[in-house]
């Protein structure tokens, strides 16, 4: 056959090239820890810390994307709602408001359902975002099914630390999600695979992505999605062991040198009306009457 030797050159070239490619160059994939195994590791791990003040906080900057691994090597603490692996951060001060985004992908039918806890400078919880306020996102063809949430805050004495963990209540729930096969059927107009959607187990371990982005000085860089979870939920004493809820007025004491109007401007530039309103509310509370009216004027002036 004439063709046989003609085939040899391109075929061998390609196979050679493919063989070269087949050496895994990328970092080895960390396998998913089965939910039960993760739960056992959590149960047998000792509590690292006696109080919220003694957690191992590490600093993050105002512009960073972190992949957080909640593995049996991560520290463990009981936040009053069950023991959990956690990661703790010191938020960047003097940078103005930041947007915080959390993405927790569903992998092998399980995920890490995070609760976000914001502490003030005195290690008192001031805000809690439980996992059930995160939204389930369908797989898009570019990323898998996942939990996602965004919120914004202004680091300072009122919001100094961020702790990410998974409460017992988080872990009891499951997340129903759209399978890749169903997503494919939907976008191609195919008959959808029969049966109910799969449910992801909430495991004690897992990997999430934390993205923090500065809102000040970077106008329009991070327009926040409208999917922001409901604002501040203050933990009750029963939820948070030995920690008294922070009175709303506590904010006042730290706000003397706080330029609310500059922050509101930054929020408006970033397109975050929700943050602007929140800031205006806080300004009103902390002795800056008229801020809300001022904001309304600004909005009216901006709007065509």
């Amino acid at each position: 056959m004439l063709s046989s030797y003609r085939l040899a050159v391109p075929l061998s070239t390609l196979l050679f090239a493919l063989a070269g490619c087949s050496t895994p160059l990328m970092a080895p994939h960390s396998p998913t820890i089965p939910a039960q195994q993760g739960q056992q590791a959590l149960a047998s791990a000792p509590d690292c810390c006696t109080s919220l003040a003694s957690l191992p906080y590490r600093p993050i900057s105002a512009q960073e994307t972190l992949t957080l691994d909640f593995t049996p090597q991560a520290p463990v603490h009981d936040f009053g709602d069950g023991k959990s692996f956690f990661q703790a951060f010191t938020l960047p001060r003097n940078n103005g408001p930041v947007a915080i985004s959390i993405t927790s992908p569903i992998r092998d039918g399980q995920l890490f359902a995070p609760t976000l806890l914001v502490l003030d400078a005195a290690f008192q919880p001031v805000r809690q975002v439980p996992s059930d306020s995160l939204r389930v996102r369908r797989p898009t063809g570019f990323s898998s099914a996942r939990l996602e949430g965004q919120f914004s805050l202004t680091p300072g004495p009122d919001a100094q630390y961020l702790v990410i963990y998974s409460s017992e209540q988080d872990r009891r729930a499951t997340t129903s999600y759209e399978s890749e096969a169903k997503a494919y059927a939907r976008v191609r107009g195919l008959a959808e695979p029969p049966g109910p959607d799969p449910r992801a187990v909430h495991a004690a371990t897992g990997t999430i992505t934390l993205e923090i982005a500065s809102l000040a000085g970077n106008a329009g860089l991070t327009p926040l999605a409208a999917a922001a979870p409901p604002p501040a939920q203050r933990p009750t004493p029963s939820e948070s062991q030995g920690v008294a809820p922070t009175p709303a007025s506590a904010a006042t004491s730290h706000s003397a040198d706080f330029d609310y109007r500059r922050m509101i401007d930054a929020a408006l530039k970033a397109g975050d009306i929700e943050l602007a309103l929140e800031l205006a509310d806080r300004a009103e509370r902390s002795g800056h009457p008229g801020t809300r009216a001022w904001l309304a004027e600004r909005l009216q002036a901006r709007t065509p």
């Binding site: 063709s3 003609r6 391109p10 196979l15 898009t140 063809g141 195919l190 008959a191 009306i273």
Partner: protein, 453 residues
């Protein structure tokens, strides 16, 4: 009216007013466009010279597709939820498809091998019919619950087209769907049709009972399609004059029984049996359940198929597979038997990189009256190796970029002396193997993607 209009045009102000009044919901509706679609494109060559040949057995309705697709094909979809109140919603969707032959940079969609076509344009209303909670009423043209085998791009149940229907009526045990769709054409199967400007109306009625739970993780779908050519008075007169007996051949029906098993070695398995008659099958076309326009092609067809995806080693090695047997028995002996089998194991080196191998086999056994391609038994085997970079692990994860080499071997000459189809189909792309070759090799690169919000 004027006041509310001006408020609506000021979303920021509206938001402020809304927030300050502590209104639970703002009274204006956002349109959040949904962008969805599918695309594949690439470049390839045939060893020995010429652009990529795509290997498809003549007489077979499908070919194994990995490293064996010669065109750009894309579907761009746009849609939006236009109304939503409690459980009731109205959704709009549209889709335009493009095909080009991969010739050069500037390919006119009007050229022979290229095309642009309007595939979807419909509105569905969910929970709009009282007494039928969960059901969806729709009208317009659409892809309607299409059933396919991904690895050889074979559609075995597809009555898509302009239509109307009510789908997914919850009947306690499973769901019922009814549709009326149309596929007009000017091909009566005999080449007698007088005026391409006038069409033969082919109507299909489709009824399905799906999601019937029969075993743990398994469900059954039963369907029946009735299709017929709806001839107008003048068309009947014309064909009467031509002596065409359209009494049987213009209509037909197809029955489908399908079982789908989830949790099947980490994937799923689908088994289907179909029977179709007369106007739904044609000697050359693929029977998918809709009327074909053929007026006197009588016969019957049996089809059994099994396909799915399994994980052989969790997270490391999965496999697509397909098995098809189809016996198309035409009264004038222009049918054929088709047997097809294929596997596509994929090994995942990492979250991104994988190696895929696809082995496919098609065997055609023509009936005695077949003309137009190799009229004796013939078969084609293709083997592809591809190195892939994808957005994750799994046979249905895209986007993917792949480098491939495909080797195919077949029985009989590829083409006739006049380069018409013999053992190889000539419609699958460029035909750049020699006419008396019995094997060929191609190589190239391709991307494949689908997406949707």
């Amino acid at each position: 009216m004027i006041a509310s209009h001006s408020v609506l045009r000021r979303p920021l102000l509206t938001a402020v007013l809304g927030a300050s009044c502590i209104m639970p919901a703002l009274a204006y509706a956002d349109i959040n466009p949904e962008f969805f679609g599918y695309a594949r494109s690439g470049i390839g060559s045939t060893s020995g010279g010429g652009s990529q040949t795509c290997f498809k057995a003549s007489g077979a309705p499908a070919k194994y597709r990995l490293g064996n697709e010669c065109e750009t094909y894309a579907e761009i979809g746009l849609g939006a939820q236009l109304y939503q109140q409690q459980d009731t919603s109205f959704d709009f969707a549209s889709r335009v498809a493009y095909v080009t032959a991969q010739d050069n940079d500037d390919e006119s969609l009007k050229d022979d091998d290229n095309n642009i076509s309007l595939r979807e344009m419909y509105v569905s209303g969910n929970n709009v019919v009282g007494g039928l909670p969960g059901a969806s009423l729709w009208a317009g043209k659409r892809f309607y619950k299409r059933h396919d085998i991904h690895m050889n791009d074979f559609y075995y149940w597809d009555v898509s087209g302009p239509g109307v229907g009510i789908s997914d009526i919850d009947v306690g045990t499973g769901k019922l769907s009814f549709a009326w769709t149309r596929s007009e054409g000017d091909d009566d199967g005999d080449g007698l049709f007088p005026d391409a400007g006038q069409q033969i109306s082919d109507d299909t009625l489709d009824a399905r009972w799906s999601d019937i739970p029969v075993n743990p993780g398994g469900s059954l779908e039963l369907g029946v399609d009735y299709g017929r050519s709806s001839l107008s008075e003048w068309q009947k007169d014309y064909y009467d004059d031509q002596g065409v007996d359209y009494d049987e051949g213009d209509k037909g029906w197809m029955g489908t029984i399908e079982h789908t098993q989830s949790g099947w070695f980490g994937g799923s398995n689908t088994f289907a049996v179909q029977y179709a008659t007369d106007g739904i099958i044609t000697r050359d076309g693929n029977a998918v359940g809709r009327g074909t326009g053929a007026l006197r092609q009588e016969g019957s067809m049996w089809r059994a198929l099994d396909h799915g995806q399994v994980w052989l080693i969790p997270d490391q090695l999965d496999m697509l597979y397909a098995l098809i047997y189809e016996d198309k028995d035409m009264d004038d002996n222009t049918g054929r038997k088709w047997f097809s089998a294929g596997v596509r194991p994929v090994y995942y080196w990492s979250d991104i990189m994988s190696t895929a191998v696809e082995l496919g086999y098609d065997h055609i056994e023509p009936q005695s009256g077949v003309t137009g391609y190799n009229d004796s038994d013939h078969h084609l085997t293709k083997l592809t190796i591809a190195q892939q970079w994808s957005a994750g692990r799994g046979a249905m994860i895209r986007p993917t970029i792949r480098l491939f080499a495909t080797y195919a071997k077949w029985s009989g000459d590829a083409y006739t002396d006049a380069r018409n189809a013999n053992s190889l189909d000539t419609g699958a792309g460029p035909n750049n193997v020699d006419f008396d070759d019995t094997d060929g090799l191609t190589f190239g690169a391709q991307m494949e993607v689908w997406w949707g919000s």
